[in-house]
Structure formats: C-alpha cells, structure tokens
C-alpha cells in the first residue's frame, strides 16, 4: 500500500519498513519490518502491508540477524599475505584496497587489454544491475556467470524475446496492490507449474505463496517435475518427466492441442505468425512418441494438454529446469506457443508480458551502460562472435567460451577477475575443477562478499566486505512494483554496500560511467523513468503501476506505440523470424540429452541412473551454511534415491554413498524417498562447510560433496543458451569404512 510510514517506534524498538533483496536471502523483494535497538537488528517480521508477500517470510529472512552478526562475517577489507589458498590475510584500509585494485587492473589492462579482466556474477542480487557498469568503467565488456550455457533464466528470457517479444509470467494478481480482491483479476482455473518448486525456492520474481493463494481460491494444478514436490502431490495431474526431455513433453502437449483443435482460432489468426509452419513441425512430434521419450503415459500427457487448453483461464509458470537442457530455448518457444494459441496470453489469470515497472530497469544480467562502450571494446565480449543470439540478446559473455579461452589464451589471455556476490567455485561453476585451474592463473583477483567463501579462499588477493540489505539504502524494481530498501542499522565493521563500492571504484576508472557523488544520486538516476527520487519512493512505500490486459491491442507493448507484440512481425512469432535471421532454427525441436539411456546406451549400462542437481532447500544457493537455525533443518548434503533402487544396491537411509560417473566421483548422504523415479537420483548442490578448515586443499570441504564435478561444461545448444546440466548419468555405491 502506498503512503504508509516507513519508520516508527514500537514497544522500545525502532521499526523500519524495508524491502529484502539478497544478500542475504534471495532474488525476490519481500516487504520486511526490521526491529532494531541502538542501531542493531533484533528481529525481522513480514510486512503485512506489502502486497508482494503480504506478511509472509521464509526462514532465510527470519534468520537475518544471525547472518548479519555471525562471528565469521567479513568486517574489514583484507589482503592476502601468504600464498593463494593459504588463508593468511591482513586487515587493510579501504584506501589501500582501492589503490591496489586500481593499480593492478590498470597494469593488466596495459599489458593485455582491459577485456582480459572478467567480472564474475552470481544470481540476481542487489548488485547485478550495477556490476556490469563497474566493469565497463574498467574497460571490459566481460561480465559472466560460470554456469554452462547461462542456463538459468537467460534461456527463458532470450526465447521469450524471440517469440512473444518479452518475458512472460503467470498472472497470480501480483500486479495489483489489492491482489486477489482486484475486480479485474481472475483466478486461474488451471496453473501449470513447470520445472520449479516455488513454495520452497520463490524464484524469478515469483512467490510460491501466490500459487497457494490461487489453490485456496480453486485453481487446479498440473505439475511437471521429475520429483514429487508438495505441489505435485496436490496436483490434478503430475507429469514425472524424464530429466532432459522437457522439450519433447512440450511438443507432445502442442500436438494434442493442435490436432484436437483446442486452440483459440481467433487469436491464432490475428495475433500469431507462422502457425501453419509450427503445426507441421509439431505434427512430426506425435504425442505417442513424445510420451515414450518422456517416460510419461500417453493418456496422462494428453489429459494434461486437454486440461490446460480447456480451462479458462490457464497460466503456466516455468522454472530453471527447462533452461538446463541444450534445446531449452526451444522448449520455452513451445511454452510461449502454448500460452498464445490457447488464448491465455495477456488475459487475467493467464500469462502476462512482464515489463519493468514504470520503465525502471534493474537487469539481472549485465547491461546498464553496455551500449555506451565503444564498438572496439564490445567486440571483445567473449563468445559473441560464436553465438549471435547471445550477442543480440544479452550483454553477458559465454561461460563455455570463456573457460576454453582461459586455457587456450586465444584470442587473448584472461588475467584479472572481479568476483562480486558469487561463491562461484562450489555453486554456480559447472565442472569446478576446470574453473579452479583457470582462475589459479590470474594475475590479480579482487572479491566482494559477506563471508570468506571457498571461492575467496582459493583465488582472492583482496577481499572487500559487503553490506547486507538492512545496512543500506536501495531500490527494488521487482517487475510488479517499486519499493525502497531502507537502511535500518549500523554497519558491521567497515562494510559498504555493493553500490557504494562500485561507485567509489568505478569513478577511479572512468567518470563517464560513474558521474555521481553519492549512492542516493545513483538511485535517483535509476528511478528517473518513474519520475521519482529515492526519498519520494521511500515516503510512498511499495508503489504499484497495476496492469492492463490485452496490451497488444492497445499499443502498450511496443516502443513505437503500434499495436501488437514487440517482435519484428508484431505478432507472437511461432515461427521466429528473429532466430531465422540469426541462422538458427526458427521452429522448435527436441534433441535427446548428450548422455542418456537413448543417446549413449553403452554408457547407460555402466551408469544406469540419471542424475539431477540444483534442487533448492532451506538455503539460498551456497549461502546460509553457517546459520544455525537453517543448518539445523538441513545439516548435510543429501542425495535422494528411490527406496527400490537403494534396496537393490544395499543402501540404507543415512548411508554415505559415492556418486560416480564418466567424469568424477563425489559423496553425499542417502535419503530414501519415493519422490524420485527409481531410475534417477537428485543430489544436493552448493555445499561447503564453514566449520571445516578453509585453507587449501580443504577449501571448507566443498570438493568432496560437490555435485557439479559430475557435470560437463560445453554441452550447449546451437544458440549458446541452455546446456545439458540436469540430465547426466551416474551410478551410486556405498562409501566403505575408512573411505571418509
């Protein structure tokens, strides 16, 4: 609600209304009430007046005081005094830290060119929107994450761009400040939840509690997930898809809907391009065959297609699982087609195009200022010469090409790194051993974080302490609203916000990118499209633009104000002219995973289980392993195994097991559960043990349990987006005594 006070006194506490945004926490922007005494955070409560979360909070934000005041928290800038990885650090001043970083990056720039410095990004935290800008000031276009194929969010974003013109989300009333009561909104009759478990992970600007509220109001669910999640257990139809075959599933759904003419003919006629060509392509993928591929009974797959198409309205919410297949871009292409041809696009309770609120952009990947870089600099963006879709789609580098280049040094060496808000080694890095070798070659590495992580221990020369969200002012433009993060406490030690660090450092390199004097000036600049300053937003509180439906009829989706979608033809491109011009398949298709029962039957004999990783738990990625009340809930890395499979292998619940494949071997603790298919296992990810020794070779014990060691880099789709990650092969066997 607008115009609510943002600070008051209550019962001996000062209460500050604020907006959560990692670190720590997650990608979202929940409303929180920060209870403080003498500049210290005492407790956190959900803000019932923030329409986004309506008072609900996750354990992560509730445990926030423990994250802020943990004894391991980084308090001062430090420099490495021993060898890299020895864990010997010395406190230094901010001036010395900045002087060193400036000097070392400038040396590298002179010797090899500024592009030989890369900036490592993690996931969408309150820094991604400005991190690129610091790198551009340094003179490098290379902002990058170490996840093969940029296989999180980016494939979805890119594919929607090429079909519907912009990102799309399920409409659970989140655009309205009065939420479920808004008279223009409709409860979805059916919601498809695809490759995501939002009640636990709250991913991609979408809260799981919205689904629960829709369920309370009668929404039926179709859940597409290789694991039986809580949502799947409550679904009308649960499709237990074979990992790596979401693309076949999507084509199968389309086949039923097109063949049985369950689509909205008027919308197809008026607002889509290439329906006939799509139909021909889909006809080559009959549901019978797709059902076989996905290990789903044909009747079930067909029933889901009918239920989705016949319910009005129907919404689809898609998660990261579809990104983690090499033809994931084309799975998303099918999903965009499903929402469009069934007439669920831009209708209340269907799927809506997501545009930045009031035009305020906080890109989750690089970008702010990328096009102000000279052409001569931009051309060095790693992988853009190989992947034209990446070059036109997102101002970020290709991790797969970067890794190769780190080893070959062709066309130029990589010599410096800026690691901000990412504990890449045990978490985002696919095949971390290779990244480890690559980063060990750096001349200089600076990092910013809340804690000393395995990544910092292994690579960093200088480490800067970052502020958590109660220690800073900021802005959250979370698709549906604008909301301010309000500083509520004294900073721990000398920590600074990422924005302050990027501003102070950025100015030393290039004032053109960082002309401002203070953080608030940057926030004011960011808010300019909304015609508001930070102080005004702070006074107003969460501010909602609302949404009009069928914006394509009203000229509200295209920058030129014409009616239609923001694509070259102005229609939803079922045949993507954009992809066609780039030389990619303009129509969806599916390819079997690089390794799997069909592609590599010999290997499958040796490694008869499909391995998935990346399931979110109580933690946010690699965060929170030192937070007592969270760790207590999930104390060790577990691998989920079907009881029948475990029985055959003589594995009991709680046994440590080796998980081995063609690449490597790790161990985790067995959890026997029927929620996974007997032919697959699901291994934890992102683990490290803050209580174990930090210095090499231990690195907080992360290597032993790191499931990304079993996954290859480079199994990327033709567009450069999406890679075979959640679908490799493995076998398991018990860890013997003495092997731990």
């Amino acid at each position: 609600m607008e115009n609510v006070p943002w600070r008051w006194e209550e019962d001996g506490y000062t209460v500050t209304r604020s907006t959560a945004w990692s670190g720590p926490g997650c990608h979202e922007g929940c409303g929180v009430l920060l209870y403080t005494k003498d500049g210290k955070l005492m407790k956190v409560e959900g803000d019932h007046e923030h329409p986004f979360n309506q008072g609900r909070l996750c354990p992560r934000c509730l445990a926030l005081p423990d994250t802020i005041y943990h004894p391991d928290r980084l308090k001062y800038p430090i420099k490495r005094v021993g060898e890299r990885g020895e864990g010997k650090w010395e406190r230094i001043s901010w001036d010395e830290a900045y002087d060193t970083i400036e000097k070392r990056y400038k040396e590298i720039s002179e010797k090899y060119g500024p592009w030989s410095i890369v900036g490592l990004r993690g996931t969408g935290r309150d820094l991604m929107w400005q991190q690129g800008r610091l790198l551009y000031a340094i003179g490098t276009p290379n902002e990058v994450g170490t996840l093969s194929g940029n296989s999180c969010w980016a494939p979805r974003a890119a594919s929607y761009h090429a079909t519907t013109g912009a990102f799309m989300v399920a409409d659970c009333s989140q655009y309205f400040a009065d939420r479920y009561d808004n008279p223009n909104w409709k409860v979805p009759e059916c919601i498809v939840i695809w490759g995501t478990n939002p009640v636990i992970s709250n991913p991609d600007w979408f809260l799981g509690s919205w689904i629960v509220e829709c369920m309370k109001r009668g929404s039926k669910l179709i859940v597409i997930d290789s694991r039986l999640t809580w949502l799947a257990a409550r679904a009308d139809i649960w499709l237990q898809v074979r990992p790596g075959t979401n693309g076949a599933l999507a084509l199968g759904l389309l086949d039923v809907i097109i063949r049985e003419e369950l689509y909205d003919k008027e919308f197809v006629e008026k607002w889509t391009f290439g329906f006939d060509k799509l139909s021909e392509r889909v006809a080559e993928h009959p549901v019978k065959k797709m059902a076989e591929i996905t290990w789903i009974p044909e009747e079930k797959l067909a029933a889901a297609a009918r239920m989705y198409a016949k319910s009005k309205p129907s919404a689809i919410q898609v998660g990261v699982s579809v990104d983690m297949e090499k033809t994931g871009v084309y799975t998303v292409h099918c999903i965009a087609a499903l929402a469009s041809i069934t007439g669920n696009m831009e209708v209340p309770g269907g799927n809506v195009i997501a545009l930045p609120p009031y035009g305020v952009k906080q890109p989750g990947v690089g970008g702010w200022g990328y096009h102000d870089l000279p052409e001569g600099t931009r051309k060095h963006t790693i992988g853009h010469n190989i992947y034209p879709f990446l070059a036109t789609g997102l101002p970020t580098a290709s991790p797969d090409v970067l890794l190769e280049q780190m080893h070959t040094e062709d066309p130029y060496p990589i010599r410096g790194a800026w690691i901000q808000g990412t504990n890449t080694l045990p978490c985002m890095a696919t095949d971390p051993k290779q990244w480890y070798e690559g980063f060990k070659k750096m001349d200089f590495v600076a990092a910013v974080d809340l804690y000393i992580t395995p990544t910092i221990m292994a690579f960093a020369d200088i480490v800067l302490p970052a502020a958590t969200y109660p220690e800073k002012n900021s802005v959250r433009a979370c698709l549906y609203n604008l909301s301010s993060t309000n500083k509520a406490i004294d900073n721990v030690g000398e920590c600074k916000s990422d924005l302050q660090i990027n501003l102070e450092l950025g100015k030393r390199f290039n004032r053109k990118f960082w002309p401002w004097d203070a953080e608030e000036d940057v926030l004011d600049e960011l808010l300019k499209p909304a015609g508001m300053t930070f102080k005004e937003l702070q006074q107003r509180g969460p501010t909602y633009p609302g949404i009009e439906y069928k914006r394509y009829e009203k000229g509200m989706l295209r920058p030129d104000g014409q009616s239609g979608f923001n694509t070259p033809t102005g229609k939803v491109e079922l045949f993507s002219t954009f992809l066609h011009h780039l030389g990619h398949s303009p129509l969806p298709y599916f390819e079997e995973p690089t390794r799997g029962p069909v592609t590599t039957p010999e290997l499958y004999k040796e490694y008869p289980l499909i391995l998935i990783t990346g399931v979110r738990t109580i933690f946010f990625h690699s965060e929170h392993r030192q937070i007592r009340h969270l760790r207590e809930i999930h104390p060790e890395p577990v691998v989920e195994i079907h009881p029948d499979t475990a029985k055959e292998l003589g594995v009991n619940d709680g046994d440590w097991v080796w998980i081995e494949n063609h690449k490597d071997r790790i161990r985790q603790k067995a959890k026997l559960t029927p929620i996974v298919h007997p032919k697959m296992i699901s291994a934890d990810y992102g683990w490290w043990f803050p209580e174990k020794p930090g210095p090499e070779p231990s690195l907080f014990g992360f290597w032993d349990v790191n499931s990304s060691r079993l996954i290859d880099m480079g199994l990327v789709g033709e567009t450069g987006f999406g890679a075979d990650i959640k679908c490799t092969l493995c076998k398991i066997y018990k860890v013997k005594e003495g092997e731990m």
Partner: protein, 111 residues
C-alpha cells in the same frame, strides 16, 4: 479464563519451516529445541495418481502462545510470518467453529 489455541489448515501448509524459525528467533530458542516443530506425513503413494504428503507444525511445551506479543494485540510470531497463511490464533471455541466446515484442519491448545 478463555483458552486460546492455534488452528492449522494443513491442506495448504507447504512445509516451509518459517513457523519453526520465527518462533526460535522470537523466543531465542537454541539449536536442538523447538517451540513448534514440523511433522512430515508421507510421502507415500495412496493409489495410482494419489499421494500422501502433508506437513503439520506441532507446538511443543516451549510454546507460550506468544503471550508477550498477544497481550499487546500482536499475532504470535509463527502466525504472523506463516508463508502460506494457514495458521490462526484465537479462543479455541471460535477456532473449533471454523474447523467444523473444513477438512484437513487441526486445533492445538498448548499448555
């Protein structure tokens, strides 16, 4: 004296653990002890397309029903922050009435 209690609609409890952590933070309850503890019922298969998987948070003897909060007109910490808004605090007679028309409800009257 009116007895108060907690009504849980476990049709929609997602098992997110927020009630546990909210309670621990509010009352400074150490590792290994709980004011309210989540139980998982399932998962097992009931029939071809039906599964048993429910979560129910159970208040322990450490639960004070957040007296210090409720006497000031605030909700108990677990209720206030529940991620699925499935917890209700009130006089047990009133809560029992709410149970009547609903399934998958459980009412606790802690000590």
């Amino acid at each position: 004296m009116t007895r108060y209690g907690l009504l849980i609609n476990y049709e929609f409890c997602t098992g997110c653990h927020s009630c546990e952590v909210a309670c621990k933070q509010e009352h400074n309850i150490p590792v290994g002890k709980w004011g309210i503890k989540l139980s998982e019922i399932g998962p097992w298969q009931i029939s071809k397309n039906k599964w048993q998987l429910s979560y129910i948070p159970v208040p322990t003897d450490l639960c004070t029903l957040c007296k210090s909060r409720t006497k000031k007109g605030k909700l108990p910490a677990c209720v206030h922050n529940c991620n699925a808004a499935v917890m209700k605090y009130g006089p047990v007679e009133e809560l029992a009435k709410e149970m009547a028309g609903n399934s998958r409800m459980v009412l606790f009257a802690p000590k």
